[in-house]
C-alpha cells in the first residue's frame, strides 16, 4: 500500500493533467489549475520544513562545536533578525529592507560577478586547439568575440554579419537538435514515471 498509493496518485494525476492540456472546456482547465494550487499549498508548507532543517543542523553544529561552528551563529542570528523584521514590520519595513538591500543584494551580486572571471578561465581551457573540433570552436569563438566589440568592426566591417550567421544558423541548428532530444527524453521519462516503471525517485519503491 505504501508504494501502490503514491503510484496510483501519480498515474491518475499525471494522465489527468496530460488530458486536460487538450481539453479547453472550463471544468478541465479549472480542475487542472486546482491541482496546481494544491501543489503550491504543499510547497508553502515545506518552507517550514526547510527552515526547521536549517536551524536543526546549525544548532547541532554549535552544540557539538564542529569545525567552523562560529559561522552557524552568524547564520542563525541573521535568520532570526530577518524573521522578526519580516513578521513585525512586514516586507516593506525599514529594518527588513535595509538588511535585504545592504547585505543580501550585494552579496548575491558579488557571487554573480565571479562569473566573469570563471568564463575567462573556462574559455582558456576550452579553447585549446588540441583536436579539430576544439580548433573549430576556437575559430568560431574568436570570430564571435571580435564581432561583439567595436574593434572587430574596425578590423573588418563584415564581422557583425558573420557572427549573426554563426548564431542564427549553425548555433540554432545545434541547439534545436539538442532540444528535440530533450523533449523526446522528457516524454519517455514522463511515461516511465506515470506507468510506475521508473520509481527510483520515490526511493526505489520496493514494497516491504
Amino acid at each position: 500500500m505504501k508504494v501502490i498509493l503514491p503510484l496510483a496518485i501519480v498515474f491518475i494525476c499525471g494522465f489527468y493533467m496530460l488530458i486536460t492540456f487538450f481539453i479547453p472546456a472550463k471544468f478541465a482547465q479549472d480542475s487542472s489549475q486546482l491541482l496546481q494550487l494544491w501543489y503550491q499549498g504543499v510547497a508553502a508548507f515545506f518552507v517550514f520544513i526547510g527552515i526547521f532543517n536549517l536551524i536543526k543542523i546549525n544548532v547541532d553544529r554549535i552544540q557539538r562545536r564542529l569545525k567552523d561552528w562560529e559561522y552557524s551563529i552568524i547564520l542563525l542570528s541573521f535568520l532570526g533578525v530577518m524573521l522578526v523584521a519580516g513578521f513585525v514590520g512586514g516586507r516593506d519595513s525599514r529594518v527588513f529592507l535595509y538588511l535585504f538591500e545592504n547585505f543580501q543584494v550585494p552579496l548575491g551580486a558579488t557571487m554573480f560577478s565571479l562569473l566573469a572571471f570563471f568564463v575567462a578561465s573556462a574559455s582558456f581551457r576550452a579553447f585549446r586547439a588540441k583536436t579539430p573540433e576544439a580548433t573549430l570552436l576556437l575559430i568560431a569563438a574568436v570570430i564571435v568575440m571580435l564581432g561583439r566589440i567595436p574593434i572587430g568592426y574596425l578590423i573588418w566591417d563584415k564581422f557583425p554579419d558573420l557572427i549573426e550567421w554563426i548564431m542564427r544558423i549553425p548555433n540554432t541548428a545545434a541547439k534545436r537538435g539538442i532540444l528535440f532530444g530533450i523533449d523526446l527524453g522528457l516524454l519517455s521519462m514522463a511515461l516511465r514515471v506515470l506507468l510506475g516503471i521508473e520509481r527510483s525517485y520515490m526511493g526505489g519503491g520496493v514494497e516491504k
Binding site: 479547453p24 526547510g50 562569473l115 519517455s188
Partner: protein, 358 residues
C-alpha cells in the same frame, strides 16, 4: 438615438465567429476596411434589433477583437463603428453568433498524435524488452564514469558531492536527478563513502533524504545514512552557490556531480569544483548551460542523456525498452523534419499548417 448621427456605409467588411478551441466563453471579431480609421468601437447586443451596448474600443491599426467572459451556449449580435476626423462608419450587424464550448483543442491535434505515436512506440519496446531480455544501448561515457568517480572518492577517503540543481520537484530535471541520486546513493552506501546533497528547495531535500535512505537500506547499509548530509541551504540562487562552493573548498570532495536544472550558477560551481581538483560529472537539459559544463567538467550528460540516465544505470530491460522507443521517436522527428524542409521548398501548405500550434 445612439446611432442617429451615423453615416451608414458598408466599407467595413466585418465578421464575428465563435473562437475556436476555447472554453465557450469568447467570440472573435475580425474586420477589414480600405479607410484609415483612427478608432474602432465594438458594440454587442443579445437581440438583432435590441440595444447595442459598447463593450470596447481598439485603435485603427487593429483588425481583431476578442469578446471574452461570455456565457457558454448564448448567442450574440455585433457591430463595429469606425471613426476618423468626425466621420463615423458603421458595419453591418453580425449574428447570431453562439459561444460554444469545445471539448478538444483541435490546434493541438498534431501534438496529441505525436504523443500517442511516441507513447505507443515506447510501450511496444518495453513489452518487447520484457520478452527478449537485455537490449543493446549505446554506451554513455559520463554515466560509466560515475562509478569510477565514486570509487576514486572511496580510495581517497573523501566525500562525494551531489548537486541536484536549483529547481523544485515539479521540474522534470529534478525528478530525473533524484532517480540518478538513487543509483549514486546505492554505490556510495555500498562503499561507505560520505555523500553530501545540499539542496536549494526544501521539498527536494525531503525527497532526496527519502531516496538516499531507501537506497542505503536496499544495499544493506541503513547505518550509513546520515540525514544531516542531505540538507536544505536556501532558495536564493547565489546564496546557494556560495554555500555549495564553501562545501567544495572546506570538505574538498573527490567527486562532484551536478545533475539537474542549472542557470547562471553552473559555471561558478563547475569552476570552483575544478579548482579543488575534483572529478566532475555534470548533466542538464538547459541548452544554454551545457557549454559551461562541457568546458569545466570531465564528463557531461547532454540534454536527453540526463533523462535516460536512470534507465541506463538500472540496466533493467523494461527501462531500457523505453530508451529504444525514444530512439524510434527520433526517427519520426527526422522524417518529419525532412518532409518539413521539402514542404517549405515546394510550398505544401497543408503539411506546414499541421504544425501551427497555438
Amino acid at each position: 438615438m445612439l446611432f442617429i448621427s451615423l453615416i451608414i456605409l458598408s466599407s467595413i467588411d466585418f465578421k464575428a465567429f465563435d473562437t475556436p478551441n476555447d472554453d465557450g466563453t469568447s467570440i472573435t471579431l475580425m474586420w477589414q476596411s480600405d479607410e484609415n480609421f483612427q478608432l474602432f468601437e465594438i458594440y454587442r447586443s443579445e437581440t438583432a434589433d435590441g440595444f447595442f451596448e459598447k463593450i470596447g474600443e481598439v485603435e485603427g491599426v487593429e483588425c481583431t477583437y476578442r469578446d471574452v467572459n461570455l456565457k457558454p451556449g448564448s448567442s450574440y449580435y455585433y457591430k463595429i463603428l469606425g471613426k476618423k476626423e468626425g466621420i463615423t462608419v458603421s458595419s453591418q450587424v453580425e449574428g447570431p453568433v453562439k459561444a460554444i464550448v469545445q471539448y478538444f483543442n483541435l490546434s493541438r491535434l498534431p501534438m496529441a498524435v505525436c504523443i500517442i505515436i511516441l507513447f505507443s512506440a515506447i510501450i511496444y519496446y518495453i513489452t518487447r524488452a520484457k520478452k527478449r531480455g537485455k537490449l543493446f544501448i549505446r554506451k554513455i561515457p559520463a554515466l560509466n564514469a560515475i562509478e569510477e568517480a565514486i570509487g576514486r572518492a572511496t580510495e581517497m577517503g573523501k566525500p562525494v558531492l551531489y548537486v541536484p540543481g536549483i529547481m523544485d520537484i515539479d521540474d522534470p530535471q529534478t525528478i530525473a536527478s533524484m532517480s540518478i541520486l538513487s543509483r549514486v546513493a546505492e554505490k556510495t552506501a555500498e562503499y561507505g563513502t560520505p555523500l553530501y546533497v545540499p539542496t536549494s528547495r526544501s521539498m527536494a531535500m525531503t525527497m532526496a533524504q527519502q531516496v538516499v535512505k531507501e537506497s542505503a537500506t536496499r544495499v544493506g547499509r541503513p547505518d550509513w545514512y546520515n540525514p544531516d548530509n542531505i540538507r536544505y541551504i536556501t532558495d536564493d540562487q547565489f546564496a546557494y552557490v556560495s554555500a555549495v562552493d564553501g562545501i567544495m573548498v572546506r570538505e574538498k570532495p573527490a567527486t562532484n556531480l551536478y545533475l539537474g536544472t542549472f542557470y547562471a550558477e553552473s559555471l561558478i560551481l563547475a569552476e570552483t569544483g575544478h579548482s579543488t581538483g575534483a572529478v566532475q560529472i555534470a548533466g542538464t537539459a538547459m541548452p544554454d548551460q551545457l557549454p559551461f559544463f562541457v568546458a569545466a567538467c570531465d564528463y557531461t550528460l547532454l540534454g536527453e542523456e540526463l533523462y535516460a540516465a536512470s534507465a541506463y544505470l538500472s540496466q533493467e530491460p523494461v527501462q531500457l525498452g523505453s530508451l529504444k522507443g525514444q530512439d524510434f521517436g527520433k526517427l519520426i522527428f527526422i522524417t518529419v523534419i525532412v518532409i518539413g524542409v521539402l514542404s517549405q521548398l515546394f510550398k505544401w501548405q497543408f503539411f506546414i499548417n499541421l504544425f501551427n500550434v497555438e
